[in-house]
């Protein structure tokens, strides 16, 4: 069987399952006794194992198998969930991810996983030193009183509320006879009785497992009811083959106080130096929507075809106007409207929630916090904000960098935080939101902030700014210096609060996406890195200009304004023609000579100029005339012409011709 055709699906699905594993593992760390989470992870791991075995990736399948064994032990309450155990499982998922990554990039998915395998094996057999020192936790579990079923927030609220309304809450434990033939049927009968007498809130094992007869002989159901305890016992007693019925009145306070096992969890948690508290995951998160995987190339083809249609639509509109035929006119108008809607849909099809990038961060933060012995609380808001796929693919790495930076250098050690009167646990906030035609992503920390003086001192010593300029700079401008290339060198890491490690790369990546980044910081209070990104890379606003016979598009994002300049206003400064633009000397760039446009030799008395900027620098591009502002679909020039000078791409105009997009950054030195 040729498996190549399934490879893509395999990679996509594996990534998805691993993501589920990661998310659920983090969730499990917060609720170590919630076995339904373990089941969730187990299912994902199991599917992954099956898939990789089918595809012939033995290493991947083996490692997943080992991990599955550990999960199975947890599920069967043979193992306790401890941070140490989770560390190993996280290690395993990390290895799995790298294997999948290697397969995705054309590798064979082989990897030396001996250490992780051994660790997993130790866990599985209960020989992990950390668990054995804890005086046989499995025993504890078995002796656990039945009433220690754990309830989540929602279930508790229900219980409390029903109590207020005069209901009682019971935990009913039913034990079936060992020789019971149809266990599922008995369960069904018990449930029917219970549902008639009240409201079933929870059952252990879960209803699905009960229905599949995946339980031993007894099960526990939590129910709110107005009936008395004895009534319930006698009603359930009518079901045959029931050996024992045990009904306890549930006292909620009892469940709030952690049981012995949970206490152990608590102490374990306190023992570790760094701990991470994750954001609360909303209950509605699991609501799934039906989706279909589409190759992005196909979407591109669809988009191209659609543009053809738009161009023809323009022609049709023109013809119908000329012919002045009422019916034709109406039809063309309808068609225009429909194709407009179509365009919107096609564009939104490429939109992906930033969630896909954000959800790798909780684990990263957890690991960093543990490595650095810091306490960090990561808060994520706006994960549902949508961005174009092309932007999503690029934005991950810069964000990783910024978050690392915030945790590594922003947030202080717990002791230092306590000393400065802050909460020991630092907070890193990751926020995404829409605003106008842009998406903003903010990374905020309540750490130490950036010291203006130290940044300036460093920048001056590096020769990035002169002392004269430094004194006139705003705080923001100063903070932006940490992203200047040449600012971050090895020695500065321990120096100026260490900020600025490779941040120049972050900035250039974001700028290449047509975005920008600003830094706000208050010393001692924390910093905010705010990234502004265009909604989509495929459509940009441009100013169309004409140079002789040729049309060029200048991205609006780099234009400050346009102006008409008189020939006599042009000044000569050291071999360079410049103009005085609002008190600033701006060099002129003659597009016709830069682009070697075949020229007609005519010279006007007035020049049309477009003032563009790159950072703080400006230039005035001299063109022949302005055509106007337009939204255009960005196209690449293709591999063949990828290194074209000062051209960042191309677009197709309404008349079907290609116009080149000017790369202003390349024109300003």
């Amino acid at each position: 069987m040729d498996l190549n055709q399934y490879l893509e699906v395999f990679i996509d699905e594996s990534k998805e399952h691993l993501q589920t594993c990661n998310e659920q593992l983090l969730e499990l760390e917060k609720n170590p006794t919630n076995l339904s989470i373990v089941n969730e992870i187990f299912r994902s791991a199991h599917t992954l194992k099956g898939m990789s075995a089918t595809m012939g990736y033995e290493d991947l399948a083996n490692l997943t198998h080992k991990m599955e064994n550990v999960l199975d032990a947890i599920r069967n309450e043979k193992l306790l969930v401890t941070p140490e155990l989770l560390d190993v499982v996280f290690m395993a998922t990390e290895d799995l991810e790298e294997m999948v990554e290697s397969i995705a990039s054309g590798g064979d998915g082989k990897r030396d996983v001996q250490i992780v395998m051994e660790k997993l094996h130790l866990l599985e057999t209960g020989e992990m030193p950390i668990t054995t020192s804890e005086a046989a936790p499995t025993m504890e579990l078995e002796q656990r009183p039945v009433s220690s079923m754990s309830y989540d927030e929602f279930e508790r609220t229900v219980i409390i509320q029903s109590k207020e309304q005069g209901f009682s809450c019971y935990e009913v434990t039913v034990t079936l006879r060992q020789d019971c033939m149809l266990k599922a049927a008995r369960v069904f009968m018990v449930f029917e009785i219970l549902e008639k007498s009240g409201e079933v809130i929870k059952s252990s094992p879960s209803v699905e497992l009960l229905e599949d007869e995946k339980f031993d002989a007894s099960f526990t159901v939590t129910i709110v009811s107005k009936e008395s305890r004895d009534d319930l016992v006698s009603k359930i007693g009518k079901v045959s083959e029931v050996e024992e019925i045990h009904v306890t009145l549930l006292n909620l306070e009892e469940t709030v106080v952690p049981t012995k096992v949970e206490q152990k969890q608590e102490t374990l948690k306190k023992e570790e130096n760094g701990s991470v508290k994750e954001q609360e995951v909303t209950a509605a998160k699991t609501s799934s929507s039906k989706t279909i995987r589409v190759n992005i190339e196909r979407l591109d083809i669809l988009m191209n075809l659609f543009e053809e249609l738009v161009i023809d639509r323009g022609r049709l509109e023109q013809i119908s106007k000329e012919l002045n035929h009422a019916e034709l006119h109406e039809t063309v108008e309808r068609m225009s409207r429909i194709s407009g809607d179509l365009q919107n849909i096609i564009l939104t099809m490429r939109m992906v929630p930033v969630e896909t990038v954000f959800n790798r961060f909780p684990r990263m933060v957890r690991q960093l916090a543990r490595d650095l012995n810091k306490k960090i609380h990561l808060e994520i808001t706006g994960a549902e904000t949508e961005l174009d796929r092309t932007v999503i693919d690029e934005i991950g790495d810069p964000l990783v960098h910024l978050i690392r930076n915030a945790i590594d250098h922003g947030i202080e050690m717990p002791a230092a935080r306590r000393a400065s009167g802050k909460d020991e646990e630092g907070t890193v906030e990751l926020k995404a939101y829409h605003s106008g035609n842009h998406v903003f992503i903010e990374i905020q920390d309540d750490g130490n902030g950036i010291s203006r003086d130290r940044v300036l001192a460093k920048a001056i010593s590096k020769g990035i700014v002169t002392p004269e300029i430094a004194s006139t700079m705003s705080d923001r401008q100063v903070f932006e210096l940490i992203m200047a290339s040449g600012f971050s060198t090895a020695e500065t890491i321990s120096d100026i609060s260490g900020r600025g490690v490779g941040l120049d790369v972050v900035r250039s990546t974001i700028e290449s996406l047509g975005g920008s980044i600003t830094i706000d910081s208050i010393e001692g209070k924390g910093s905010t890195f705010s990234i502004q990104l265009p909604l989509t890379l495929s459509i940009i606003s441009v100013m169309l200009v004409e140079v002789e016979e040729e049309k060029y598009a200048i991205p609006l994002s780099s234009i400050i304004e346009t102006a008409i300049v008189k020939r006599s206003d042009i000044l000569n400064a050291h071999n360079q023609q410049v103009i005085d633009f609002r008190g600033k000397v701006v060099p002129l760039v003659f597009l016709n000579s830069v682009f070697e446009v075949p020229n007609s030799g005519e010279l006007d008395e007035f020049f049309s100029v477009v003032i563009v900027r790159k950072g703080d620098k400006m230039a005035a591009l001299v063109v022949d005339s302005f055509i106007g502002q337009q939204e255009v679909v960005l196209k690449s020039l293709g591999n063949y012409l990828s290194s074209a000078f000062a051209i960042s791409g191309a677009t197709i105009l309404g008349d079907g011709q290609v116009a080149l997009i000017v790369d202003c950054n390349a024109l300003i030195k």
Partner: protein, 150 residues
């Protein structure tokens, strides 16, 4: 491309004219043949790159084969065609004098290029095919498309 010389099967080719000589490209490397349309010049590109066209929504670079082979310029006529070829992930249009033939060349008709043909463009050639009275020059696309350092 060497396998073309080795296999016993026929090769289906697109035949085009350039400077009164006949050239051939295997049909599987040709995506389409287009009429000449408006070409947008790309500044500071190599001299044989005429610019880019809008090929059904895809911006496609156009190479003037005469310039590429160092032949003298000739004005474009009604017969001038753009052959869209794709090789090594590059999709490029070639401007040729005319293109109007599809032929099956028996594999044994293809010979290594004789030295006497050795003109300026010889480095772009894979071999020649003799068909009765016609002589077809087999083009080596990947060499034609490889940018020359200037």
């Amino acid at each position: 491309m060497t396998e073309i010389l080795l296999t016993d099967q026929d090769v289906k080719v697109i035949v085009f004219q350039l400077n009164e000589k006949e050239y051939a490209i295997p049909v599987n490397e040709v995506k389409s043949i287009e009429k000449l349309q408006h070409i947008t010049r790309v500044p500071k590109a190599a001299n044989y790159v005429k610019g880019v066209i809008n090929l059904r929504g895809v911006v496609t670079p156009i190479i003037d084969l005469r310039k590429r082979f160092g032949l003298e310029d000739d004005s474009y006529t009604d017969n001038t065609r753009v052959i869209i070829v794709s090789a090594e992930e590059l999709e490029v249009g070639l401007i040729v004098d005319a293109a109007n033939d599809v032929l099956d060349i028996p594999a044994n008709a293809i010979e290594p290029q004789p030295d006497v043909v050795g003109s300026v463009e010889s480095e772009y050639i894979n071999g020649v095919a003799k068909l009765e009275r016609r002589l077809l020059i087999m083009l080596n696309l990947s060499k034609v498309l490889k940018p020359t350092k200037e």
